[in-house]
């Protein structure tokens, strides 16, 4: 038996690794997190908040294990929970550890509780961030007499380096090519970038290209583009529906940041809100535009 498998492939590990696109995703997101902790100093001088990351990962895995136990009993699904957890670590910050537990629990809980035709409706990490913001904001209402959430998205932890565009873009593309969702990313970032460039260079009459570029190379925005909006399970199945959906998210996100509406929504956070708001439309699009339902195991 051993001789046949050895002849078939030199590295069984590599073969196993290539089976599932989520393996790539886990590796890349972990690299970003480690880079953030050690090079960008996210965990503070003395790594105090590393425990917060471990907490998010722990809660996500446990919640998913419970979910799996009562549903499919297929524990390969834990990989998805790990991706969600890493996504939350990279995007969501909170003052209190309880808010992080809430984010992690609602992220996974939403997956099992809010479903339509065998697909969960909301992107789990997105759902976690939004629910943490909304619920903690409501809880804090009595203390501040206004909506003051305990969770926030911190684009300041990433900075805006052009190199980030290449690294996040390239790594994201590898994953997306395997999953077949690169179209979503490109449609989103293409539309969003065109709008930002049009506003800055044409409407406002800036002369320096670095100004729109600085906005577009923000780490949080790129992470959203290549690792959040592309989740194959929560995007429409049909290709053109998917592209239209991504364009809609880009247009609405951009609209939220326009001065005229005077909403205090930052460029980096707007897509996260918009994705949440437009998630239910996915179900609608799936109904009218038939496409093959995505499965991780093919």
């Amino acid at each position: 038996m051993s001789s046949t498998t050895q002849a078939k492939s030199a590295s069984p590990f590599l073969q196993f690794f290539k089976q599932d696109a989520r393996h790539f995703q886990i590796v890349y997101l972990s690299i970003f997190l480690i880079y953030g902790i050690f090079w960008l100093g996210w965990a503070g001088q003395h790594f105090e908040s590393v425990t917060q990351y471990l907490l998010i990962i722990g809660v996500c895995l446990i919640a998913q294990a419970i979910g799996i136990h009562f549903t499919t009993k297929d524990f390969r699904g834990l990989k998805s929970a790990l991706i969600t957890a890493l996504g939350l670590c990279l995007l969501c910050k909170a003052n209190s550890s309880w808010t992080l537990v809430l984010a992690a629990a609602t992220a996974i809980g939403g997956k099992y509780l809010i479903r339509y035709k065998g697909k969960h409706v909301f992107n789990p990490a997105n759902m976690g961030i939004i629910m943490a913001i909304i619920i903690s904001g409501l809880v804090n209402f009595s203390q501040y007499d206004r909506f003051v959430p305990d969770a926030w998205v911190s684009p300041g932890q990433w900075g805006s380096d052009v190199i980030m565009l290449f690294v996040l873009g390239a790594m994201g593309s590898i994953v997306l090519l395997r999953v077949g969702r690169l179209d979503t990313s490109l449609a989103f970032i293409g539309t969003f970038a065109s709008l930002v460039i049009l506003r800055d260079m044409v409407y406002l009459g800036e002369t320096d290209w670095r100004i729109p570029f600085h906005t577009l190379t923000n780490g949080s925005l790129l992470l959203f583009t290549f690792f959040m909006i592309t989740d194959p399970v929560t995007t429409p199945n049909a290709k053109w529906a998917r592209i239209a959906w991504a364009v809609a998210i880009a247009v609405i996100s951009f609209g939220l940041t326009i001065d005229a509406f005077s909403l205090d929504v930052r460029v980096h956070a707007a897509p996260i809100y918009t994705l949440f708001a437009l998630a239910p439309i996915t179900a609608l699009l799936d109904r009218y535009f038939k496409g093959k339902k995505f499965s991780w195991y093919e």
Binding site: L40, G41, G44, Q45, E48, K73, F75, K93, A94, N95, Y144, R146, V148, P149, D150, A151, W152, S154, P155, G156, Q157, W158, G159, S160, D161, D200, Y203, L204, G205, E206, T207, D208, R210, I211, H214, T215, N218, D259, S262, L263, D264, R266, V267, H268
Partner: protein, 506 residues
């Protein structure tokens, strides 16, 4: 040559100020807090904003969509040539503009700036400790006085309002076209940097108004004043921005800016630039005390270089809420009182408890963040944008020195151990100094390491030093086999009661 508040461009060249290194020796006020004193150490020196050339300071206060901005100019030229232009989101009314006391910034800078703390080691054998004290040195000055503003409306520029506020004449302009605004300003005696109109255009397109300040020379003469006090404006805007681009229009050199930001939730952080905490809470060699200013400057230079020069540094973050007992640790000066916070624009605070047992003479939540930006046109293409976060993690740029006990009477076992550990600690502190400052030869003071050896040699003849350390008590703690037994019992319980229902299906 550009100078002045970062938000603006001020006109006229200025001499580059020589670097001042105010070093203040201060008796620690946090000794008053009984609980805190154990951790306090003594505050000995600071490295404030005056350390850096061309440093402007700004106070930002933000709650909801209400923003209060206070700017201090570091302008040092002829007063008649002083002018600054700041983009603002709306036409400000007279009651939205105030002049505040000029020592406000010094007080804040002093309170939040990088600090050096000293600890006196106790005598390892007797536990006695000694305190040193107390001199204050600090000085800041501003030049003085003359100018005027002509009221006109052409080139698409409308003078929406003119106010006399203190020593200033302030005009609020709206413009339809950047070249027009540039011409208008030039005609009215402002020397506008050649690149300014390019930068003005996007602000005009965005519907921003322009807050134009000149010195009212007659008033200054009448009041016999020579100071340009900080200007404070209050307005509502969803955007939480600090326009820095005008200030960079003609400047090639790097400019430093200190931002003191108040919120009622937690830290204020930049959203469009990376935010990094300054490395702090490290033990450094004793002799750095004399050159603490130069030390901190090197620390900042090094970390600024390493992080890519396009980063906003957080130097201080502290919860000053009325119910937070520990207002600072240690305190370089008295924690801000109600009057000072109100002066800074913290409008939501209520005057309150000043009785015994009260932590503060105000009621409400305040969180103070100090950020330090060194920017130039190349590395900071966009204006600074901020957000208030609920992040209450506290931080201070605090460095620690230890005064050792190097005496001849260390006649005890602990004395020997003390000198050994002191030796290690000094090597470590030297390493830290080199790591923090990047000083190639970390300026080792003559005999800094040797004096510990010297002290060891002097104490060698003590009998206690040659005593054999007694054998470790064998009966201490739980023996190893108990752990093992416990583990086996737990495993047995688990096997019997839970294991059957606990099976992973993978």
């Amino acid at each position: 040559m550009l100078n002045g508040t970062a938000l603006s461009f001020t006109i006229q060249s200025s001499k580059i100020t020589l670097m001042r290194q105010p070093i203040a020796f201060f008796l620690l006020s946090c000794l008053a807090f009984a609980q805190a004193s154990a951790f306090c150490g003594f505050y000995v020196a600071k490295a404030g904003a005056q350390l850096f050339n061309k440093t402007s300071q700004v106070i930002l206060v933000r709650q909801g969509d209400q923003t209060v901005v206070t700017m201090q100019s570091d302008y040092e030229g002829e007063l008649k040539d002083f002018a600054m232009v700041v983009p603002v989101p709306e036409i400000l009314r007279r009651d939205q503009i105030r002049i505040v006391e000029s020592d406000l910034f010094d007080k804040l800078d002093h309170f939040t700036g990088p600090r050096l703390v000293e600890y006196h080691d106790e005598h390892p054998c007797y536990g006695e400790s000694r305190f040193d004290a107390v001199v204050i040195t600090d000085q800041s000055a501003l030049d003085s006085v003359e100018g005027g503003l002509e009221k006109k409306a052409k080139y698409g520029v409308t003078v929406e309002a003119i106010y006399d506020v203190g020593e200033y004449t302030i005009s609020i302009l709206s413009a339809t076209e950047s070249n027009g605004l540039k011409k208008w300003l030039t005609q009215n005696g402002y020397k506008i940097p050649s690149k300014a109109s390019k930068i003005l255009a996007p602000y005009i397109q965005n519907g921003m108004k322009f807050f134009v300040v000149k010195v009212n020379l007659e008033k200054m003469k009448a009041a016999d004043s020579h100071q340009l006090r900080p200007i404070q404006m209050t307005f509502r805007s969803e955007k939480f921005l600090l326009p820095i681009r005008l200030g960079m229009a003609n400047a090639k050199a790097d400019q430093d800016m200190i931002i003191h930001a108040f919120s009622d939730q937690g830290r204020v952080e930049p959203t469009n630039y990376r935010n990094v905490e300054i490395p702090a809470d490290e033990e450094i060699p004793e002799y750095v005390e004399e050159r603490f200013g130069a030390f901190y400057k090197s620390v900042f230079d090094k970390v600024w270089e390493e992080e890519g020069k396009n980063v906003v540094f957080t130097e201080y973050a502290w919860d000053l809420s009325a119910d937070n007992f520990l207002k600072c640790d240690p305190c370089p000066s008295e924690p801000p009182a109600y009057s000072m916070l109100r002066e800074a624009g913290v409008f939501w605070l209520l005057e309150g408890n000043d009785g015994p047992g009260a932590n503060a003479d105000y009621e409400g939540n305040v969180f103070l963040t100090r950020m330090h930006v060194r920017y130039n046109r190349k590395t900071f293409p966009q204006d600074l944008s901020f957000q208030v976060t609920p992040n209450k993690d506290q931080l201070q740029a605090r460095y620690v020195i230890r005064h050792p006990v190097l005496k001849d009477d260390l006649d005890c076992k602990e004395g020997k151990e003390y000198l050994m550990s002191l030796n290690m600690q000094r090597f470590k502190a030297l390493g830290t100094l080199e790591w923090l400052t990047g000083w190639e030869e970390p300026l080792v003071e003559e005999g800094y390491v040797e004096e510990v050896f010297e002290c060891m040699r002097r104490n060698m003849n003590h009998s206690s030093w040659h005593e054999k350390t007694p054998e470790k008590d064998q009966n201490e703690g739980i023996p190893f086999w108990m752990y093992l037994l416990g583990a086996i019992v737990l495993w047995a319980i688990f096997q019997n009661f839970f294991a059957s229902s606990w099976r992973w299906k993978v």
